[in-house]
Symmetry: C2
Subunit: 438 residues, 2 copies
């Protein structure tokens, strides 16, 4: 705070207080402006966030209105609070997450309500102090068992919220049943309020600018492939330009794109789990093979690690230390591997985005394989006997990594083909390519 550091020594107490207040106001205004700017940036980065906030507002207002006109539909009883609860808790950013939470909540409420009513019937067989003891023991057993089940990875991935709501509803209904005897009615009211309000949340989420997590995942996988493709194409040019001209292009954004690929694993799995709930999406439909996307994603990540190796060798002084004749010799196949593998990856990216098969990708892979063989045989002969080993190694190591990248790209192509056949991507074979410039 620079408020305290201002020099007010030779003025009266009133002026001093006034100056201090002015400084404070300026400070507060600056903080408010900074906060507003951050808020603006957050909205500009992804405008869907603003839309989401408005959607939540609309859903909550709808439910509130529902409650205000309760006099008209007087069936909601005291459960208006549950309505608000359900909308706030169920409404998530993506359709998949909202559907998952909504369905989990409905199913868990239904099954736990039914179980609690059954338990209540058993407990009425006991009288006086016996009843709370039986109810307490049952609540303990069921909550402990279901809590433990939440640790199962398969259940945690898709039904974690449902299991929590199961414990909640069971305890709620069975605890209340001891006090008032209208258990059945209460369970029934709770169930239909939750169903109606989950549907309000789901419908607002789907109808007003929906964010489909499946689409987001598909785009992300495609964008990751594109980033790797851009890196490879750019790397080939950059490396041998550096070696000749000693300086490089200004725009190096392509060199950093791959880094975001490395940290996506957890998020991709979460997204695939949520995408499975989006059964009604017009492009994907039932049983879309989300697992195959994950496989493409994992192989993409393995390839990105190799690009990280490559990038380590992009140091100007090391490259220029390499003997020129050696560099010139391997330049052609190296650039060819980079550009062909890069084209293959970018072709896959556009094919995934358009959900069609690719006809040109096999050609790129074949060309890059030929270049890799050529490079391999060049590195194996001992033309450079008089060269300093330390000088040759960095460039030769780049060659070795590039040779490694070819089978890596091929694996991605194979897993893409599996995805394309499972997901019934459109075939392109029978169309006449518009690029046939004769």
């Amino acid at each position: 705070m620079d408020i305290a550091s201002a020099n007010f020594e030779n003025v009266g107490p009133f002026t001093r207080a006034w100056e201090w207040l002015k400084a404070l106001a300026v400070k507060l205004w600056a903080m408010a402006v900074e906060f507003a700017n951050k808020m603006k940036k957050l909205g500009q980065d992804d405008p869907r966030r603003i839309v989401h906030s408005l959607k939540v507002g609309v859903a909550i207002t709808l439910v509130s209105l529902f409650y205000y006109v309760r006099q008209l539909f007087d069936r909601f009883g005291e459960d208006g609070i549950w309505a608000v609860l359900t909308v706030v808790l169920v409404f998530e950013f993506s359709v998949g997450a909202t559907l998952g939470k909504g369905l989990n909540r409905m199913l868990a409420t239904l099954s736990a309500g039914a179980l609690a009513v059954g338990v209540d019937q058993v407990a009425t067989l006991f009288d006086g102090t016996g009843q709370p003891i039986v109810l307490g023991i049952l609540a303990f057993i069921i909550s402990a068992t279901v809590t433990f089940m939440r640790f199962f990875p398969a259940l945690k991935a898709r039904y974690d919220y449902g299991l929590m709501i199961f414990i909640l509803t069971f305890c709620l209904v069975s605890v209340s049943s001891y006090q008032d005897d209208e258990v059945l009615e209460m369970a029934y009211e709770r169930l239909y309020t939750i169903i109606i309000c989950s549907f309000i949340a789901i419908i607002v989420c789907i109808c007003v600018c929906p964010v489909w997590i499946g689409e987001t995942l598909q785009n992300q996988i495609a964008n990751n492939l594109e980033k790797l493709g851009n890196f490879l194409e750019g790397f080939g040019r950059e490396y041998f330009r550096l070696s000749e001209e000693g300086h490089s292009t200004d725009d190096k954004s392509f060199l950093h794109g791959y880094k975001s690929v490395l940290s996506f694993e957890d998020k991709e799995e979460t997204m695939a789990n949520l995408a499975r709930w989006e059964l009604w999406h017009y492009r994907f439909g039932f049983r879309h093979p989300w697992n195959r996307y994950l496989k493409v994603g994992t192989l993409t990540r393995q390839c990105a690690y190799k690009l990280e190796d490559l990038k380590r060798y992009l140091k100007c002084f090391e490259i220029q230390a390499t003997p020129t004749e050696f560099r010139k010799e391997i330049q052609v196949p190296c650039i060819q591997i980079c550009s062909e593998s890069g084209k293959a990856l970018k072709e896959l990216a556009s094919a995934i985005k358009k959900m069609r098969r690719s006809t040109t990708v096999d050609g790129h892979i074949a060309k890059s394989k030929i270049a890799a063989e050529k490079l391999n045989s060049m590195l194996s002969n001992s033309l450079w006997e008089n060269a300093n080993l330390r000088e040759i190694i960095p460039t030769a190591a780049v060659g070795l990594v590039l040779i490694d990248i070819v089978p890596c790209t091929e694996k991605i192509v194979v897993s893409f083909k599996e995805l394309a056949s499972r997901a019934r991507f459109e075939r392109m074979d029978d169309r006449v390519s518009p690029n046939n410039d004769v």
Copy 2:
């Protein structure tokens, strides 16, 4: 299902049905046994899971009993349901998560309740249809704004749950206020029920076998360092044994340990966020520098990527293709780098676990630096002029990666020292080392 595939063609319908039922029973029994085994394994992997489940059971039973004896403390009113809700929602696996959720819930309820009561006073200025419209507009504005604030990374990390509860409580109190006029009393009741029940959850969580997320994070960081240390020590032996004997040791578990390090990033950040809530832990106390642990963790991960490079070169046929004299020459400094860096990392791991400074680590780093310099000068002279480049490169590349690992280890040591001074780790200088065998 192999039930259908059994051959029942030449028997009567009764026998067939009987056989089918028997097969089904066997199948069901096998599934039940498999499920029980999975459950058992889950418990054996981490017995704290079983303890956690029992703790949740105890907390819920306690709250239920509280509600059963409501006749004695008849101040809970109709809010018994909130009690159960709070315990189920607040109770998490670790102390940090439970404290975070509990404090978030209490603070959010308090502030949102106060705001809602204020808004309610404003709304009473309007009559008839004006009141629900004003309430609706305010609910819309507040829920949309707070939902948008949940996208702020800084708020999302620690206060996401609180912001959700804020919307919830605000809407709940303001919606209910339109129907019954006891808003103040309702807000007050809700607040103290939530406070009491959050405390029940927090106390059970802390007093019965607590799982401190801070301890877990500390152990994880230390274990990751130890895994890298084991890998390095093992790699040095393994690589040159492979080259001489052509086969390797049976126990290769040390070679795979580092892999888990690569995928820990997201979890470490979440853990550090939760650990900040554990203000009362006797070992860490207030303002423990959790960020410093994250930095050590990030550098550990960078080092693990280099180990992945190393592992790629551990292919028998490639190593044996290297000319023997070259391999023999660089063997000594390579093994020295591996063993000294490995020792340094393992020393750091044990220092972090015991929360003390290390006196020996600088020695290991100095020795590994000397070895790296020796290796560097060996690779730079051109002794191996007649060697086949393709044959030499893999082993020389291993040398280059090892030279890279030394500054990487040094960075980890520097960040450990920063951590040690910030967290006031115990000094070891003034003690007489028991290992001084003269």
